[in-house]
Symmetry: C2
Subunit: 213 residues, 2 copies
DNA sequence: CCAAAAGTGTTAGGAGTACACCCATGG
DNA sequence: CCATGGGTGTACTCCTAACACTTTTGG
């Protein structure tokens, strides 16, 4: 009786990073049916004695080699027909990986993993497209009233990089002067270091608040 | 092997209403161990071929006799030790019930159900206190940038009732004139009906936007 | 000296906040 | 006529948004 009420529970993760001025998601190519050879989000079963977040972290380590990322539970998807093999409830998470922390492709897992730009998303397996969309919406909203955005930047960054990150995620241009004014008062520390690559060197900043790792 | 990865999945619901100028939660007294005779959130197993939301609606109907309420997924709690009987992952929802729609206590379910004011919450079973707190936080936030609040009011209401509802949930007094100014521009329809009970009659309003049912 | 990106202020409009009195009714 | 809750306006501050030129450097 109890047994009959058990369901398969997985964790799927929308792992996001910024690369080449694009917001990218980590996708894995499925080796087996259903949706063989289609791309899907990394994910896996929740084991009997690990928490949901631990399951997500385990997946994350398998795919990216690191757990030093921002990780947040997103939403739980449980339509009875979302997996053709049977009933699978998935707890979706999203993770933000800073450029330095994103070994381009995965380590131990056999499946082929790739960073794919949001605007080049292929058709995804299962309801994973909906999960990705939910993650983007959440990220955009959080960007407006939190400082999660810094999780997508290296520890030291220029104000131009910071603004670019916002513009990439929100998919709209921002006014440079207004943007800089708003950065005053969120705890940026100006460093005595300079990023020299364009013409005029740009000052480097760092963000004080807690950073895991 | 597959079987070993199955877990028990439940849905728990934080059903909220406003009664006697207090925000109240519907709690049920447990009849069996663990936590026998303690209060808990209404909840139950997700059946094999119903969606998570359907499971929540089913619980809701069992406890309140209606499904004409606002219902939103809250968060999924899955610590391995959250239920002493074994591994149970619960997908928490919260529901907002308008005064007219809240038959004071439940219908079919045998368990004793009660509306309990937030400030009188007893010690709850499992991690249900955390779930309730999560719901309140979510509700407070949503109140600021959405119109969910109207789900806690009868179809026709006075501006004083509207303000009172905000004050109860946010647990702080609001300025009457500023509050009324803000209500302009969210689509309130002034009716030609008057609530007469205090001294001067108060105008009744209604909120246009979609209301289930 | 020139191309390219860095850096910097002002103004106008809208939103939020603080604040106090008169009005209509039922008893 | 009075007690009770209903209803209303203004001034100040702060945030947002629009907008263009000068500075520094490497080549």
């Amino acid at each position: 009786m109890m047994e009959r009420q058990k369901l398969q529970v997985t964790v799927d993760i929308v792992i996001l990073t910024i690369q080449d001025q694009r917001l990218k998601v980590l996708l894995v190519k499925r080796g087996i049916p259903p949706f063989e050879k289609q791309y899907a989000l990394p994910g896996g079963f929740v084991l009997h004695n690990e928490s949901l977040e631990d399951a997500a972290l385990r997946e994350l380590r398998e795919e990216t080699g690191t757990t030093d990322v921002y990780l947040e539970q997103l939403y739980t998807f449980g339509a009875p027909d979302r997996d053709p093999r049977g009933r699978v409830v998935t707890v979706a998470y999203y993770a933000l990986v800073a450029p330095g922390n994103s070994p381009l492709v995965a380590g131990t897992d056999a499946a082929e993993a790739r960073w794919v730009a949001m605007e080049d998303l292929p058709k995804l397996a299962f309801d994973h497209r909906k999960i990705v969309d939910t993650a983007i919406t959440r990220l955009r909203n959080k960007l407006e009233y939190t400082t999660v955005g810094f999780e997508l930047l290296p520890r030291k960054f220029t104000l131009a990089q910071l603004q670019e990150m916002y513009e990439i995620i929100l998919a709209k241009p921002l006014d440079k002067r207004n943007f800089r004014r708003k950065t005053e008062g969120i705890g940026l520390k100006a460093l005595d270091e300079w990023h020299r690559t364009g013409r005029k060197p740009a000052r480097l900043y760092t963000f004080a608040k807690k950073r895991r790792g």
